[in-house]
């Protein structure tokens, strides 16, 4: 393990159901690493365990066995408030359904993670304006979520996820509720965030097009990481074809 490893998952297991009930193993011996500045995708069909994995990585759920380190911090050692603080400081999260607070303006939504860390209003303003600039939403900061489009909402959500400069950005199907144009815009933005600002991104998706933006893809099936695909120097289109190929083969063997 090098100092630049941002995510380090070892022998992760997650079992649902109590000991005396019928048990279901959602994750089975999952191990992988991610280096700082990487753009990694996790792909899998519904029920493959990808959401469970993301919930554990984002400290929302606890594993049954195994270890997870994010930015050198072993998650098992954190309890209660420490977990919440860890989420607030280290992780930025984008959800499929945006999860913006509809009774607060875009600006206030973005400011939320900062005020959770009690950053003063004076210090917060330039940070918010900067991230808004990056995501090209400075024109709608005073608007409420109901007054803006889905694509804009997701940009606001992304701004909220990034404003406090977390060590990693996690996305759970962030393009799932967007039209194809907005989806492409968002993915382009994420790509440039990754390439220019060196933001580490972990993207969970089942959409091959979204996945083709990643540098590396882990395919998860029945709770296990089956295959790994690297983009290397390939074009996005060629990578997209590769992904479709893997998905196709997975379908065949699964049938």
């Amino acid at each position: 393990m090098t100092a630049t490893t941002i995510v380090d998952v070892k022998h992760l297991r997650k079992v649902y159901g109590k000991a005396n009930e019928k048990q279901y193993e959602a994750l089975h011996n999952v191990t992988f690493q991610m280096t700082t500045g990487e753009f990694v995708g996790i792909m899998g069909a519904s029920g493959s365990g990808k959401t469970t994995l993301l919930n554990i990585l984002s400290t929302l759920d606890q594993p049954t066995a195994g270890s997870v380190r994010i930015n050198q911090q072993e998650l098992n050692q954190l309890r209660g408030n420490q977990l919440a603080d860890f989420r607030a400081k280290e992780i930025g999260f984008i959800f499929q359904d945006f999860n913006l607070l509809e009774n607060m303006t875009a600006y206030e939504n973005i400011a939320l993670p900062l005020s959770l860390q009690n950053v003063s209003a004076k210090k917060a303003r330039p940070m918010i304006e900067k991230i808004a600039q990056t995501l090209n939403i400075n024109g709608i900061l005073a608007k409420y979520p109901t007054e803006i489009s889905g694509g804009q909402k997701q940009r606001v959500a992304a701004a909220r996820a990034l404003v406090h400069q977390p060590s990693i950005l996690m996305g759970d199907e962030p393009t799932g509720a967007l039209d194809s144009k907005s989806a492409k815009d968002l993915l382009d933005t994420m790509q440039s965030l990754n390439q220019q600002q060196h933001v580490s991104i972990l993207l969970v998706t089942h959409d091959p097009f979204s996945a083709s933006y990643c540098q590396r893809i882990l395919f998860i099936k029945d709770g296990q990481i089956g295959q790994e695909l690297k983009r290397g120097t390939k074009s996005k289109e060629a990578f997209y074809q590769d992904i479709l190929g893997v998905l196709g083969r997975n379908e065949q063997t699964g049938a």
Binding site: S58, N81, R87, M104, E108, L112, S115, N118, Y144, R160
Partner: protein, 604 residues
């Protein structure tokens, strides 16, 4: 099959139904509790000496009915919001709208009937306990008070059955008219409220003017009489509503602009929550503020009457007067913690009663001072035998006459020196006047002694022209303790109603808040912060109507001081306020706990 599905739906959301059910039970219980008094004409007649009492109770009944109606409507929208999704699902699976209509009709009625039955039982128990406690605590004479009162049961049942049938019809209609897709999707989220400066200013001015008129009319109640109550009622209701819909929204907006405040923790989130809440709660909060005022007012005036009893009791100079005490009476009198005791001898002739002047030099007599302006009760000074001149005759003669038994009241009072007294023929009597250190602390001993004295002298036990503290106490207590009882009883009923109403309205919004708090949890807000946010948000919703209510009461008490009904209404206000606020506070804590449980419990 559908019935089975519907039942399983109820089972799966049992907790939510429990909240709904207990709310309805509470409403029925309180309604019954109030009606048990309001419909009991013989109770009102026996206990309220003023003629407007039946009117006050009828008015209270109507008010409570309106509040219950509003309450039930909230409860119903809560029920509907819980069932909407299920029914949408059934429809999508091919259930016929008519069948579902029957189902929701039945469901509403079953819940309604059950809650009325349980509510009546609870109401009976509540009425008995509260009634019993009050009668005991207040030494009240609540004649004709019955915890189990049939007319009240009948009215409660009819009222609620009508309400629930109405509700069932509304629900049926709503379900049939709403498209399936809308049933499946959750209701629209509340949004922010923009402040329109001019409209807000107009509302605010209107609110203050209305309140000012109301307060002024209450102060001048002597001039406006019954019309004044009507005017005050309208203007204060209007004023309260206008203030809520302008001043508080405006204040919140001001606060939202202060970045130093909003950038700390979840402050901005709390403000945003409150902002749309208050717009949504305007009517609710105004109603709660008024109920708060009524409840607090009722308890305060109730306690005011208690003070009246004390004040008027203290207006007699002596606690007990014994006439030719026997050994038994003397023994009983020894139990009284005595501050001052004077014994005088007298002889009774056909037209005159003779006292000995020297005895008053040794033990001066309490004589009433001249009446001054603004004085509420008489004041006394000690007068010695030398001072009891003919010029001062009327005052000391009155005092001496008060010491005699009723049969001697008509005779002239004469003062002679010892030698002359000894010359007089006839039997010598003694009278012993006792002042205790504290009347109310010695009430039991004083009561016993007085009764012995009355029995031995064959004077009627309830004669109304007695002049000791105990006599005064008896008269005032019989007149006022009924009123006091009513005040407390009404106060508690109103409080229970308003607090459950507020609690229920807040809880019914909890489901939609769950998403918001879940999201805050995901982005890393500590549980402690989330709990605080809930406590603060609900706290404001409780405090605002509380403040308004207290202000209303402070002005409303004017009616009682101006009319001299409760001359010292503002004295010792803290006690009823404290009792009331503690009860109100308990409701607050309960609401916060329930809310936190609903909102912060993670779904598996």
């Amino acid at each position: 099959m559908l019935v089975k599905l519907s039942l399983s739906g109820i089972k799966s959301r049992f907790k939510d139904y429990l909240v709904l059910f207990s709310g309805l039970v509470m409403a029925a219980a309180i309604f019954y509790m109030f009606e048990a008094l309001a419909t009991n004409r013989s109770f009102i007649k026996a206990n309220a000496t003023f003629s407007v009492a039946p009117f006050v109770f009828q008015f209270g009944s109507v008010l409570l009915a309106i509040i219950t109606l509003v309450y039930i409507l909230y409860a119903n929208s809560f029920l509907l919001s819980m069932r909407k999704h299920d029914y949408g699902l059934f429809m999508m699976l091919g259930a016929k709208a008519g069948k579902l209509g029957q189902l929701i009709f039945l469901e509403t009625l079953v819940i309604g009937t059950l809650s009325v039955i349980v509510g009546l039982l609870a109401g009976w128990g509540l009425t008995a306990v509260v009634g019993h406690l009050l009668i005991q605590r207040l030494d009240a004479t609540a004649a004709h008070f019955n915890a189990l009162y049939w007319p009240a049961i009948l009215i409660t049942v009819i009222f609620f059955i009508v309400l629930f049938i109405l509700m069932a019809l509304i629900n049926q209609r709503t379900l049939r008219k709403t498209p399936v897709l809308k049933l499946l999707k959750s209701t629209a989220q509340p949004t922010h409220v923009a402040v329109k400066p001019i409209r807000t200013a107009v509302k605010m001015i209107g609110g203050f003017v209305s309140l000012a008129i109301g307060y002024f009319v209450m102060h001048q109640i002597g001039v406006f009489q019954l019309a004044g109550i009507g005017i005050a009622l309208v203007t204060i209701v209007l004023g309260t509503y206008l203030i809520f819909s302008s001043l508080f929204t405006w204040l919140l907006n001001r606060l939202q602009r202060r970045e130093k405040f909003t950038s700390r923790g979840l402050n901005n989130f709390i403000l945003a929550q409150l902002n749309f809440r208050i717009a949504d709660y305007n009517r609710m909060l105004s109603m709660v503020a008024l109920l708060f005022a009524l409840a607090l007012g009722a308890i305060t005036t109730g306690m005011g009457f208690q003070k009246n009893i004390q004040t008027y009791t203290e207006s007699a100079p002596y606690d007990v007067v014994l006439h030719n005490p026997t050994a038994e009476t003397k023994k009983a009198a020894q139990k009284i913690d005595t501050k001052r005791s004077s014994q005088y001898t007298f002889k009774v002739k056909k037209q005159q009663v003779y006292f000995v002047r020297e005895q008053f030099d040794q033990a001066p007599l309490y004589v009433q001072k001249n009446w001054r302006k603004d004085q509420i009760i008489p004041k006394y000074q000690l007068m010695s035998g030398k001072e009891m001149t003919m010029a001062e005759a009327p005052s000391w003669q009155v005092s001496l006459r008060d010491l005699l038994l009723p049969r001697d009241f008509q005779k002239d009072i004469k003062l002679v020196d010892q030698a002359e007294f000894d010359q007089l023929s006839g039997q010598s009597h003694t009278v012993k006047a006792i002042v205790s250190t504290d009347f109310f602390a010695n009430l039991d001993a004083i009561k016993k002694t007085t009764q012995l004295d009355q029995k031995q002298n064959h004077s009627p036990a309830n004669y109304a022209i007695g002049s000791t503290k105990y006599d005064f106490y008896q008269i005032m207590n019989s007149v006022l303790s009924g009123l006091e009882f009513m005040g407390f009883f009404l106060g508690i009923a109103f409080l229970a109603m308003l607090a459950s109403c507020l609690m229920f309205k807040i809880l019914s919004g909890a489901a939609s808040d769950r998403v918001r708090y879940r999201m805050l949890d995901k982005i890393g807000a500590q549980q402690r912060l989330l709990r605080q946010a809930i406590a603060k948000e609900i706290g404001v919703l409780f405090i605002l109507p509380g403040i308004m209510g207290i202000i209303h009461v402070l002005f409303g008490l004017q009616m009682f001081t101006v009319t001299k009904l409760l001359p010292e209404a503002y004295h010792d206000l803290w006690l009823p306020f404290l009792i009331f606020l503690v009860l109100y506070g308990l409701y607050y804590v309960l609401t916060v706990k329930l809310y936190q449980k609903i909102v912060l419990t993670k779904e598996p």
